[in-house]
C-alpha cells in the first residue's frame, strides 16, 4: 500500500533553476496539500487543492506554483529557485474535510537544497 509518494526524495539546485516536485496518492483522496518544513517553524502550508483542476494559496505561496490535472497527482513547481526555498517539502492528502475527522496522510518528504 503506497499511500502518498513523493519524487524525488533529494535534490540540489542552483539559484535560478526550475524544477517540479511530484506527489501521487492512491487513496482516491479529494484534497491534497503541499507543506514546507523549516527548522523551528513547524510545517507551513504552501498550496492546496480540493479537487481535480482546482488549486488555492496557503500560508506561504510566493515563489511556487501548483497544478492538479489528475485527481491522484499534485505537482509543486519552482520556476526560479532561491536559497530561501531550501527546505523539506511534504505532500499530504485527505478525504473531503466534512467527512468526520479525516486526518491528512503524508508522504516521506523531499529535501531540497538551493545553492
Amino acid at each position: 500500500n503506497a499511500g502518498v509518494t513523493q519524487t524525488p526524495k533529494f535534490r540540489v539546485l542552483k539559484t535560478g533553476q526550475s524544477m517540479t516536485l511530484l506527489c501521487a496518492q492512491d487513496m482516491n483522496h479529494e484534497y491534497m496539500y503541499w507543506y514546507r518544513q523549516d527548522p523551528g517553524m513547524g510545517l507551513r502550508l504552501i498550496h492546496y487543492s480540493v479537487g481535480e483542476g482546482t488549486t488555492a494559496k496557503g500560508e506561504v505561496p510566493d515563489g511556487y506554483n501548483v497544478s492538479r490535472l489528475k485527481k491522484q497527482n499534485f505537482l509543486l513547481g519552482l520556476e526560479s529557485a532561491a536559497p530561501s526555498q531550501t527546505s523539506v517539502y511534504f505532500c499530504a492528502s485527505s478525504r473531503r474535510a466534512g467527512q468526520s475527522n479525516q486526518p491528512q496522510h503524508f508522504g516521506d518528504g523531499t529535501r531540497l537544497s538551493i545553492l
Binding site: 523551528g40 510545517l43 492546496y48 480540493v50 474535510a97 486526518p103 516521506d108
Partner: protein, 117 residues
C-alpha cells in the same frame, strides 16, 4: 486565524517512564479536530492520535493518551511506558470541522522528545 503553540521545544524522558507534551491553541470555533503527529528521524509524519472537540472523552491509543481541556484550549499528549522508538519530533495540529475552507491543518512548531535508556 487559528494558532497552535507548543511551549516545550525539547523534552526528555527515561525509558519506561511517562512524559507529557503540552499544546495550546487559539480559536473562535466551537467544532474542530486536534491531532498529534510524530516525526522520527526517518522524516515520516505519522499520526499518533486524534480528538474531536465535541467529544468530552479523551482519546487513547495504546500507550498514548490526551488530556483535552476545551475551555482552556489545551491538548496535551501523554506517553506512558516510554520506549526508545518514541524518540521523535512531535507536532500538535488543529483543523476546523466542516467543509469549505476549513480543511487546512495548522501545526505547532514541534517538541523534540529524547528517550534515555
Amino acid at each position: 486565524a487559528q494558532t497552535v503553540t507548543q511551549s516545550q521545544p525539547e523534552m526528555s524522558v527515561q525509558e519506561a517512564e511517562t512524559v507529557t507534551l503540552s499544546c495550546t491553541y487559539d480559536t473562535s470555533e466551537s467544532d474542530y479536530y486536534l491531532f498529534w503527529y510524530k516525526q522520527p528521524p526517518s522524516r515520516q509524519m505519522i499520526l499518533v492520535i486524534r480528538q474531536e472537540a465535541y467529544k468530552q472523552q479523551n482519546a487513547t491509543e495504546n500507550r498514548f493518551s490526551v488530556n483535552f481541556q476545551k475551555a482552556a484550549k489545551s491538548f496535551s499528549l501523554k506517553i506512558s511506558d516510554s520506549q526508545l522508538g518514541d524518540a521523535a519530533m512531535y507536532f500538535c495540529a488543529y483543523r476546523n470541522a466542516g467543509g469549505g475552507s476549513n480543511y487546512k491543518l495548522t501545526f505547532g512548531k514541534g517538541t523534540l522528545l529524547t528517550v534515555n535508556p
